[in-house]
Subunit: 405 residues, 2 copies
């Protein structure tokens, strides 16, 4: 540095993502990657999305101008229509805000609620991007070790009680991915949902229900959202076009009580004024033309086939007793438990053999930022099945099995 | 509120913008508005921008996917080419980040540098959006009362000395709009530029040079940026497509030392992962096709005519001795000094007569958040000349004169 920058606390808390380094190691010819959690570009609805470009000519002066911080009205209208059956009610305009990806929901709501040192309850494992954002805000983490049905209610109760008694006040937020969670693939069990809400309410802790994968269910019945079970009270529900349409539009949304959405909007005003109106208008056109519902059917089948290929390949190749997992009913991920294995060591061996995944450590807060007992990520691995072809999935699992043996 | 939200300090610091209330008052039929600081939608290059949509089909899978946090490579390439003659050097990839509007540069750099209570030096008057963003981060403000040549060097020196002696350390940042500032329309005088830099360097204070209007010069010679005078050291230079192309794309950028840009990128990663790739790709196409240079010539002439209309109308109608101003050489604004006038009272009278502007108070930090002597915004008014037609400008100035009499 040629200039004396005195960095802020938030900059000093930032750690470069270890995942980036891992990704750099996976960029080799012939590598089969289960590492990235990105949607399959082969299934992006390129032609259908491009159909909507006439809006740029038709409404040019409006689409190219600054937009409302709350969201571009035609998109808000489409969203309200789409959300009504899903939420069991139509959100009022004051209860919804369009955001620049749902990553921004975590950041904005975090800025509304979190002061440095505050505690956020997260699932263990959870999405590293949310940990990164909340860490930047100075949050500490209380972790709820999860099973195949998401957060066990008794463990959540313990964590909330412990925070209350040790910190003298409840945590500031519960962050949860209730459907096909990143990385576990688990859904919060139906009978746990009202119980989780009840605990949150009794302790006075708002819930951020992050739901980017809920529409990607290829088996079983959809479960009611925490938001709808709560009748909209105490829950901010975040949805996104990233997994169901395309992440490149950077369009997502949050629904919640008018008061909290108002605070989110005021923070957003100082953050980016509004989400790209061009992106919002093209996304609204895509929805208005009825493409979204059709596309959902297509991607569910597409990803179901890949998940089935991975399930069969893992069962056929992994040495018995060396790995355990639960087949996901939707989403993007398999989460392997690898007893007596350090997945960072396995990662290096696997990359040598031409297959990549993400070691478990990335999905847990560090012990130093964890309130209460941390969870060790070493015996876990996340495999994303969306990117590779079914043939590559079979070959990748074979290579992984060889690395594990 | 139906739920006990414990808001964070940053949410508690947020004040709803008083400007929004003022705008609500201006929405009446027949109102001529000099209030909003928005570009004229009549001059948006709708057809030229829409030409680029073929990129959505041609590069669909890439444009619809997640992009690099640093920026979409083809846009970064266009920007580097465009910036080279303007900066006197080609920024290295590690020295540039694409942002979701330049509002985001203020927020991200603020998060890298500012802890609650830290002092930021701002011009008086300055852009309310920057005050809002920095206030959300807990900044306090030391103000440099400006004249027609921007920050007087001796006043800046005083402010820096005073901060040092009273706070025991230098301010964390100098925020300045060096060209056709919002709201003053002033340019930092050529001979002050090296002196401002020299002061910043001697006190060890980084500079955020916000330059959304620099290309909109319709008279005189372009002045060298602080960034280029500093050889890139200690200055983050922010530019934007909002005023030269269209704000609805939400595409801007920051250039600075690799170390500080790296911190900005790490914060941005947790904020929105990346700026809309769709917006970036369409903007890159617009540049690649050579439209930007041609369009700049067109909007300079367009805005020059409006500025000339406002200059003539103000001179012809305002009662002598009741208002003083300096004709801007570019940008969007006239800044009136109205001795012995409270511009909030004038605002109400003017709106009754069918013309709107923004009272000066919005452009100064509150006394409570000001370190050292605050400046009273009452005797000032900002008139934006971009939105109204030349005929409306003449009639609007007539109405304003009547309100002032």
């Amino acid at each position: 540095v040629t200039f004396p920058y005195a960095l802020s606390g938030s900059a000093l808390r930032i750690r470069p993502s270890p995942i980036r380094e891992l990704f750099a190691m996976t960029r080799r010819p012939g590598m089969i990657s289960f590492a990235g959690g990105w949607p399959d570009p082969a299934i992006f609805p390129v032609a259908e999305f491009a159909e909507g470009v006439e809006v740029l000519s038709r409404l040019g002066p409006e689409v190219l101008q600054y937009g409302a911080t709350e969201g571009y009205a035609p998109l808000v209208e489409e969203l309200c229509r789409w959300l009504t059956p899903r939420l069991g009610r139509t959100p009022a305009p004051a209860e919804l805000v369009v955001t620049t990806g749902s990553q921004q929901v975590v950041d904005l709501l975090g800025r509304v609620l979190i002061d440095p040192g505050d505690v956020v309850v997260v699932e263990a494992p959870t999405y590293p991007g949310a940990l990164h954002t909340l860490r930047n805000l100075g949050a500490r983490f209380a972790v709820v070790p999860c099973d195949g049905g998401g957060m066990p209610v008794d463990r959540l109760a313990e964590v909330l009680e412990r925070c209350r008694s040790e910190q003298g006040r409840p945590p500031k937020l519960i962050y949860t991915i209730v459907n096909f969670a990143n990385p576990s693939g688990a859904c919060l069990a139906a009978d746990r949902r009202p119980a989780v809400l009840d605990l949150a309410r009794r302790h006075g802790v708002p819930v951020l229900e992050d739901d980017p994968y809920g529409e990607l269910r290829f088996r079983g019945e959809a479960l009611p959202s925490l938001y709808s079970l709560a009748g909209g009270e105490g829950v901010v529900w975040a949805g996104s076009f990233s997994k169901v349409l395309a992440p490149g539009v950077r369009v997502a949304w949050a629904v919640g009580e008018a008061e909290i959405i108002r605070s989110v909007v005021l923070v957003k005003q100082g953050v980016d004024l509004c989400t790209s109106v061009v992106s919002q208008a093209l996304t609204a056109e895509y929805c208005r033309r009825g493409h979204l519902e059709r596309h959902l059917g297509k991607i569910r089948a597409h990803y179901a086939a890949k998940a089935a290929a991975m399930s069969a390949a893992l069962a056929a190749t992994l040495p018995p007793g060396r790995a355990a997992w639960q087949d996901p009913d939707g989403g993007f991920f398999f989460w392997l438990r690898l007893p007596e294995c350090d997945s960072r060591v396995l990662f290096r061996r696997a990359v040598e053999r031409g297959v990549a995944f993400l070691p478990g450590a990335a999905f847990f807060p560090d012990p130093a930022e964890t309130v209460g007992a941390p969870v060790d990520g070493a015996p876990f691995a996340r495999l994303c099945f969306t990117f590779a072809t079914p043939d590559e999935i079979v070959e990748g699992c074979r290579r992984l099995a060889a690395a594990l043996s």
